[in-house]
């Protein structure tokens, strides 16, 4: 059984990313469950999606210390969700800073050197500038799919399955750019 935690900020596309990931796992014949939260929690707040696949999956929720892989769309959120990662787990973090309102209003400070802090704690850390890759491609809204491409390197799924699901799941007009975003993430030197 493989347990993946995806965290970020409401509006970054974590839900679509975990949707695609789950459908790919299903496409490959695994049992799969996914869990997320809607409503009040989405309005620019911290968000977490859980995706679990394997031969037979029971819990849709990943407890603390259980995540095999943590995919963080934002650095502060990586730090916040760190406790969901198991001790020898892998972390993929998007090198991106989104100031929470508590920081923007001057009531708190955004921690410095988050990547450095994480490196000290997590041996298996991959840092990627997903926004830059997406921006170079011409649409920063594909950042979530770039990050999925990075994640895909560590999962046992065929590339065709990813591209097949992407085609079904993203808006028609953006199929090509999303496929490219995925492949760029997959090939990135992170």
């Amino acid at each position: 059984m493989t347990k993946i935690v995806i965290c970020g900020v409401g509006g970054q596309g974590t839900i679509l990313a975990s949707d695609i990931l789950s459908l790919v796992a299903m496409e490959e014949g695994y049992d799969v469950k996914k869990s997320e939260v809607h409503g009040m929690a989405q309005r620019g707040g911290s968000v977490i999606s859980n995706c679990i696949f394997g031969k037979k999956v029971y819990s849709p929720l990943i407890g603390l210390g259980e995540g095999d892989i943590l995919l963080a769309f934002e650095k502060l959120e990586a730090l916040r969700s760190l406790s969901y990662l198991k001790k020898n787990g892998k972390m993929i973090v998007n090198d991106y800073e989104w100031l929470p309102i508590t920081v923007a209003s001057g009531d708190a400070t955004y921690p410095e050197n988050i990547i450095k802090t994480l490196k000290k704690k997590v041996e298996n850390l991959i840092c990627v500038d997903g926004i830059k890759i997406a921006a170079d491609l011409g649409n920063i809204r594909t950042t979530n799919v770039v990050l999925l491409g990075v994640l895909a390197r560590f999962l046992p799924f065929k590339q065709e399955s990813w591209l097949f699901v992407l085609e079904k799941r993203v808006p028609k007009k953006t199929v090509e750019i999303n496929k490219t975003a995925f492949l760029l993430g997959f090939a990135s030197e992170a």
Binding site: V32, S35, H38, V57, P60, I62, G65, L79, R80
Partner: protein, 574 residues
């Protein structure tokens, strides 16, 4: 065919397959997607957003009288609103099958409390089913209609957030039609004045006995024998956590949890050395199991507050795996969106230092810093009555400082009766209706003021100003909350008025309209005074003592430019 579905989608699918004819709801997290998905089958199922949960349950009950299979869905607190017809329907029973879906929210991801609605099944003396994943949500919705018709009872289908918003693989089936049985007058059953209700109560108690026998033999109340040292009794999503954490234990999975299946529980308890109850929130099963004389371990190990997960279960029963400690970092609370029209009203309330009784919706976020523009939030519609009560207790002096703030959908839901109370009882309160022309918090659903129905049809648009006037309010004003100057003038004037006023702050939700080009800060002019920060807009932050605007988040609403005294914020930077 296999599909990947959320619990809510699976309930909708189950209703479709069961031949459901009528479905009603008022949106509320985590239940909203049930009716949104039922709307996909609108050629077969009449569906509507009702004005509130009570109305939803009443409309569905009418359809049940006609012998049509019907479903009503709501969040847990919605069932409080609908409790009156719920209890009556408990006595009246059904003709067509009746499934009442309650989506509880342990952990309060998007709710004001974590009440455990299993208690409603017991109190209203009706049957209850608790699915533990999406496939069961589909199956039990269907089975719910069958049980309802067989035992002449409404069936409570009790979901929780982790059922509603978790996804799993579902095996979908064809629809089986159940044409309405037709309406036949039966006053002894459906007109429950005391003389009719007394014999109905006797029938209800007999029904409970029959249901209890059924529950004891119900195949989805099942024992999964394993190691006999420990036996775990559980239901709902907790079953999944148990199977994950204790794969070898003996488990009694309860699915039809009310009436309570005593015999199978006794049998299970005899077969194991020690019984543990794993359930979220109230000790519902635990209380019943203890009452039949079985010694169990339950809430002394597991919390009553919050939701469970595999880690909490492991910890409670002694596993001590080390995890990364929680980090002490700035919190990231949800915020009003950049460009949210509610911000204008809250900015003014904050500036004028008014006491604001609040209500339920996105706009409750106006209570958070830096706006701090809301004092109370009780339940749907409460702002109106709360403002009036404060005024009555403290007199004219405070009434010049009080406003009630309520959303458009919330006002239709249950603000109107409060407004009538103010006019009738000679109050002078000022009610501000934040009219963003949608039910935003739950995902932009239609409501009586939008001119569209759930089924996508055009309909009469009910105007808030007409309602206010019809309630007897003579001072009714419509303002644009992006215009801060006008908003301030009118609020300032109306709170002082010794008559009731209704101010409708009208501008569509920013999520429904195309953004204007973003604004930018002219760094040379910015003095770093942070006035704009007071708006609490997520697009504005301070960098090196100057304000900066994130061009990807900014929607060009222009409120920050209005606030700025140095004219340091300008448009058209793209």
């Amino acid at each position: 065919m296999r599909e990947f579905m959320s619990g809510n989608e699976a309930v909708a699918r189950g209703a479709y397959e069961a031949g459901c004819r009528v479905a009603c709801a008022y949106p509320g997290t985590p239940s909203s997607e049930i009716l949104e998905n039922i709307a996909k089958y609108k050629d077969k199922i009449y569906c509507e957003w009702s004005t509130n949960e009570k109305v939803a349950l009443e409309v569905a009950s009418g359809a049940v009288f006609a012998g049509a299979r019907s479903l009503v869905a709501m969040k847990h607190v919605g069932l409080n609103v609908a409790a009156d017809p719920l209890f009556s329907m408990g006595y009246i029973g059904v003709t067509g099958g009746f499934v009442i879906v309650s989506a509880d929210d342990p952990g309060m991801h998007s709710s004001q409390n974590e009440q455990d609605n299993r208690n409603y099944a017991r109190a209203a003396k009706i049957a209850m089913l608790e699915p533990s994943d999406s496939e069961e949500a589909r199956l039990l919705t269907k089975l719910g209609f069958d049980i309802s018709e067989e035992f002449d009872t409404p069936v409570l289908l009790r979901l929780t957030t982790r059922i509603s918003h978790s996804y799993g693989i579902v095996n979908i089936d064809e629809r089986k039609e159940h044409p309405p049985r037709g309406y036949k007058k039966d006053v002894k059953k459906r007109l429950i004045l005391p003389a009719h209700a007394r014999p109905r109560h006797i029938i209800v108690e007999e029904r409970l006995k029959k249901l209890k026998d059924y529950s004891n033999s119900f195949p989805l109340n099942r024992i999964e024998w394993g190691n006999r040292d420990v036996g775990i009794i559980t239901s709902g999503v907790s079953y999944q956590y148990v199977k994950e954490v204790f794969p070898k234990a003996s488990v009694l999975k309860l699915t039809l949890t009310w009436p309570f299946p005593d015999k199978i529980i006794k049998e299970f308890a005899k077969g194991v050395k020690k019984v543990i109850i794993v359930e979220e929130n109230d000790p519902f099963l635990e209380t019943e199991i203890k009452a039949i004389g079985i010694d169990v371990i339950g809430k002394e190990k597991l919390p009553v507050t919050g939701e469970l997960d595999p880690y909490i279960l492991k910890r409670a029963f002694g596993s001590s795996e080390e995890v990364y400690p929680t980090q002490d970092i700035p919190s990231r609370p949800p915020v009003l969106c950049a460009g949210c029209p509610h911000r204008g009203v809250f900015y003014v309330i904050s500036k004028l230092k008014l006491t604001a009784t609040g209500d339920i919706g996105c706009y409750t976020l106006g209570a958070l810093p830096p706006l701090n523009a809301m004092d109370t939030c009780v339940c749907m519609g409460a702002s109106v009555g709360n403002a009036f009560g404060l005024e009555r207790a403290l007199g004219d002096e405070i009434s010049d400082k009080i406003v009630a703030v309520i959303g458009d959908s919330t006002f239709f839901h249950s603000g109107i009766t409060g407004l009538i109370d103010i006019v009738y009882n000679k109050g002078t309160s000022t009610i501000i209706i934040l009219d963003n022309s949608t039910t935003a918090m739950t995902g932009l659903q239609e409501h009586p003021g939008t001119g569209k129905t759930l089924m996508g049809e055009e309909t009469k648009k009910i105007a808030l100003e007409n309602i206010a006037k019809a309630c007897g309010v003579e001072n009714v004003y419509v303002i644009d909350p992006y215009n801060l100057k006008e908003t301030e003038e009118i609020i300032k004037r109306e709170v002082k008025r010794r008559e009731p006023s209704v101010i409708i702050a009208r501008r569509p939700c920013v999520l429904m309209v195309k953004s204007e080009p973003p604004l930018m800060v002219i760094s040379e002019k910015c003095t770093g005074c942070k006035l704009c920060i007071g708006l609490g807009c997520p697009a504005i932050s301070i960098k090196d003592n100057k304000a900066v605007i994130d061009k990807f988040l900014c929607t060009g609403c222009g409120m920050c430019a209005e606030v700025c005294l140095k004219e340091a914020i300008e448009g058209n930077c793209s």
